[in-house]
Amino acid sequence: MKSISMVLLLGGALVTATASAAAVQGDARRGQQAAAVCVSCHQANGGGMNMPQGESWPRLAGLDAGYLYKQLQDFKAGTRVNATMAPFANMLDDQQMRDVAVYYSQLPAPAPTPPSLTPAQAELGRKLVQRGDWDRYIPACNSCHGPNAQGVGASFPALAGQQPGYIKQQLLAWQQGARHNDPLNLMLAVAERMTEADIEAVSLWLAHQPAQ
């Protein structure tokens, strides 16, 4: 059983997360400084912003440090392609990436203010997230992303309380082959079986769920 890193927030001071060997070694205080370039999109509280008509900026606060670190590495290496993120990832060296990842992982997750969803969307979204649709071989999101879609380790990020526009964009990106840094094509397999209505429903429903 993997040990879970314990995070202590003492009177506003941030401390480095102690963790098992597999976890990211980084300094949150240095990370906060390096993250100055991140704030304009991901916001000071790390909550991101939803842009229904454009490219949404995801919540980073409270996400797993290992996951964040890998995404930064992937943006820099080009294994995850995003024109907006590439220059920012290129600004960070390896240690800064670790520091930034640890910093964001320790921030409390602010609740997004997502658009409301229709009862039909809520029913569909909840079903896909909690039970999946096995007639179409769509496993429940929770089967990998955790009991309340709050994430599992470094490979399966939290989805609950994430910006809905971002979730939707990523599902479409997997569907279209624009994103392919998922292990074992796990997300490709799921995304290509989802309809537009499915994607809309899960994105909105997940955004409304508590992040922590």
């Binding site: 059983m1 993997k2 039970r131 999946g132 096995w134 007639d135 179409r136 071989y137 769509i138 496993p139 089967s143 990998c144 955790g146 009991p147 709050q150 994430g151 599992v152 380790g153 490979s155 399966f156 082959g177 292990p183 074992l184 094509n185 796990l186 490709l188 397999a189 799921v190 290509e192 079986r193």
Partner: protein, 333 residues
């Protein structure tokens, strides 16, 4: 309510065509075709249950309780379940899916003789076997509320299926042809590292969040014990081939499935409840079962199963595992 009837499926019909959507899939589901003449079942969903006007509300409630127990069997942890498993862990897709050991056939083909315990079993005794072996525990009592709920869920999913029709498409996990190469630990280890570790952990111990199992362990104290059907290499190989990685049935080659099934089942796990005190002796006694497992054989310098570890379970053998004998019934009365 979905109509259930025997379907004759022409060879070559693809899964996408059956499901009614046509997409150029990059990661398609690859499963066997039903054979001509097999009964192909359409198990109802919870949505069907909610909308069925012919099922009394009290029965719906019991079926939903059965569903809840099936999906979250961990709620019985410490009482009947002593490992990290749920029914749905192996009986995937809510126990409804072909090639993922759908559970409804147990209600239409039992009572029947089973080679595992060499006597006629009811569906409750079949479920008792799951608790005793796969869940490393003991079953809820025959006729109890819990057992009733489980049976109700299993049987409702059989709605429309012919009684004692045994030629069922997609029953169990299917069966792979014999592998070209003899299954091998080292090859299996490589398959595991590449395809399984991201979910099940590099150490095969799975992953939990806040104490709740997300990805189950595949060996060790939290896994199925040495009496479980999954310890049979051919069973695990078929399960893996037709269900893993999650959402991608058919992704591995047959050889990869055999090799990783061997690798997983070459690791230690809690004791077989039928343990006689010696693993080789137990293997011989139950050879009809263990000829398919590595239990009681030497792997990497140790005899597998030669221990007294029952994991979290504070006993070895549940009382329910006992022979049955029947006097010859009379037809003169």
């Amino acid at each position: 309510m979905r109509a259930t009837q025997a379907l004759w499926i022409a060879a070559g019909a693809s899964l996408s065509a059956l499901a009614g959507w046509a997409v150029a899939e990059q990661a398609p589901v690859k499963l066997p075709e039903p054979k001509a003449g097999q009964y192909v079942h359409q198990a109802p969903t919870l949505e069907d249950l909610a909308q069925d006007p012919n099922i009394k509300p009290q029965l719906k409630q019991v079926i939903r309780k059965g569903y809840d127990l099936f999906m979250n069997t961990q709620q019985l942890r410490g009482e009947y379940v002593f490992n990290d498993m749920n029914c749905r862990t192996c009986h995937m897709g809510e126990g409804r899916k072909m090639w993922a050991a759908p559970v409804w056939p147990a209600t239409t083909t039992l009572p029947d003789y089973r080679g595992k315990n060499k006597h006629v079993n009811s569906v409750e005794e079949r479920i008792a076997g799951c608790f005793s072996f796969s869940m490393n525990g003991k079953p809820p009592a025959y006729g109890s509320d819990t057992m009733l709920a489980l049976v109700a869920y299993h049987k409702w999913m059989a709605s429309g299926a012919p009684v004692y029709e045994r030629n069922i498409a997609g029953r169990g996990f299917g069966k792979l042809p014999e592998p070209e190469l003899k299954p091998d630990y080292a090859r299996g280890e490589a398959v595991f590292a590449e395809n399984c570790a991201v979910c099940h952990g590099a150490d095969g111990q799975g992953q939990k969040v806040n104490g709740q199992v997300v990805f189950p362990p595949l060996w060790g104290d939290g896994a199925y014990n040495w009496g479980a059907g999954m310890t049979r290499i051919f069973t695990a190989a078929a399960f893996i081939k037709h269900n893993m990685p999650l959402g991608q049935p058919g992704k591995l080659t047959d050889q990869q499935a055999w090799d990783v099934a061997y690798f997983i089942n070459a690791h230690e796990r809690p004791q077989d409840p039928r343990y006689t005190g010696d693993a080789r002796e137990t293997r011989e006694k139950y050879l009809n079962f263990h000829k398919h497992t590595l239990y009681g054989t030497e792997v990497n310098g140790r005899i597998l199963g030669q221990h007294t570890n029952t994991g979290e379970k504070p006993f070895l053998k549940p009382a329910v595992l006992r022979p049955r004998t029947f006097e010859q019934g009379s037809d003169q009365w």
